[in-house]
Symmetry: none
Subunit: 253 residues, 2 copies
Amino acid sequence: MQLPLGSLTPDQYVLVYNAFSFGLATFAAATIFFWLGRSQVASEYKTAMTITGLVTFIAFYHYFRIFESFDAAVSMTNGVVETTGKEFNRAYRYVDWLLTVPLLLIELILVMRLSQSETISRSTTLGIAAALMIALGYPGEVSAGIGSDRLLWGALSMVPFLYIVYSLYVGLGKAIQSQPENVRGLIGLARNVTVLSWFFYPVVYFAPFVVDLQGADAFVAIELGYTLADLIAKAAFGVLIFTIAVRKSAASA
Amino acid sequence: MQLPLGSLTPDQYVLVYNAFSFGLATFAAATIFFWLGRSQVASEYKTAMTITGLVTFIAFYHYFRIFESFDAAVSMTNGVVETTGKEFNRAYRYVDWLLTVPLLLIELILVMRLSQSETISRSTTLGIAAALMIALGYPGEVSAGIGSDRLLWGALSMVPFLYIVYSLYVGLGKAIQSQPENVRGLIGLARNVTVLSWFFYPVVYFAPFVVDLQGADAFVAIELGYTLADLIAKAAFGVLIFTIAVRKSAASA
């Protein structure tokens, strides 16, 4: 799809620019927060904190790339927005998700401290389903225009997506009931934040079929939508994981 | 608002340039000081020190961006200041404040070690009020000229601002009285530094309505004013938080 970057208004250009910078700064700060926080949890939750920080670290790297790619593709001189001819790489988000989404699910499973066999089996099936979901969405995202290819690949991607949502509610639902009482509510909240923030992504993906957004407006809506969803699903979700790990560590001490 | 960067005198250009570099260096140094200091406080104050360092880290990142943006927008060759046509991004300050101002309030609440429920409720209401205050000030700052838009958005932004000041004095006032005696004065001082340094921002924001500063003079006054306010509100304030955390750690040991 030819991106309508040249028709961005100056306000839209600055808004997208600052949203990418905001994402970059937030993910860098969140990473340090989680890795420093690692020393404040019991040893059995340290891997969960390492991975929580890895997710935001990988997101930090990709927002840096997205920021640089946008900066190279579009420029504003004397208040006029122009494309430079360089490509804006939309694939960075998918490379990011391919790495971070399986890790996000593993993060949630690790902080629950299930049995070793259950941890491995759930991490494997949910991790593979998540990777499949991202890989299937990608051809639709980069296909030309908003047409049948986007619809087909988007629909295929929804199969593993719905399987993950089902697993989180039904499969993990029972495991949540066996968690210590002081964190049961928080783990349920983390599960709900995961599912709700994840619903953002298909909403943004399919929005162009429903709302008649054209050109630059569609671009701005998609980029701001994905950025907000990433911030909730990775940084805010990570703060919940940290809080759960701290409380469970205090209880076991 | 078209920035009068081209009419900066060589002295003004160098002054602003060095002020941004000074901010960048101070925030980088402060960040390392706070994160290294984390090992000197008891475990219950480690999160406060992590966040104190995050605030200056985020400010360091934004002063780096502001410095680079100013460097790209204006150049001085053979003693003549000229604009390059590239935009000086004034929004970086607002992106910074959107992240750091809620964190500054959380820092102060964390070092007081209130009950868990009070910590969460105060952090949430003060954090949301702070984000609202920044978001409402932004449209006025980027509006064309010094006119009614700046006045309207500035006035709206003052509502959450005054709510925060009121909360810090009345709400936290009682909590301060229940702090250990050896830090009560310091926490009161930290609260006063917050409020006094924060009053700098609306003073700088509204100054162009009161003082007849035009063009380059107004630009220099605004940028130096905000930089000074940031240094006090983030770095100097952080040193107070560190001192409080060290004293409380010694008392509880």
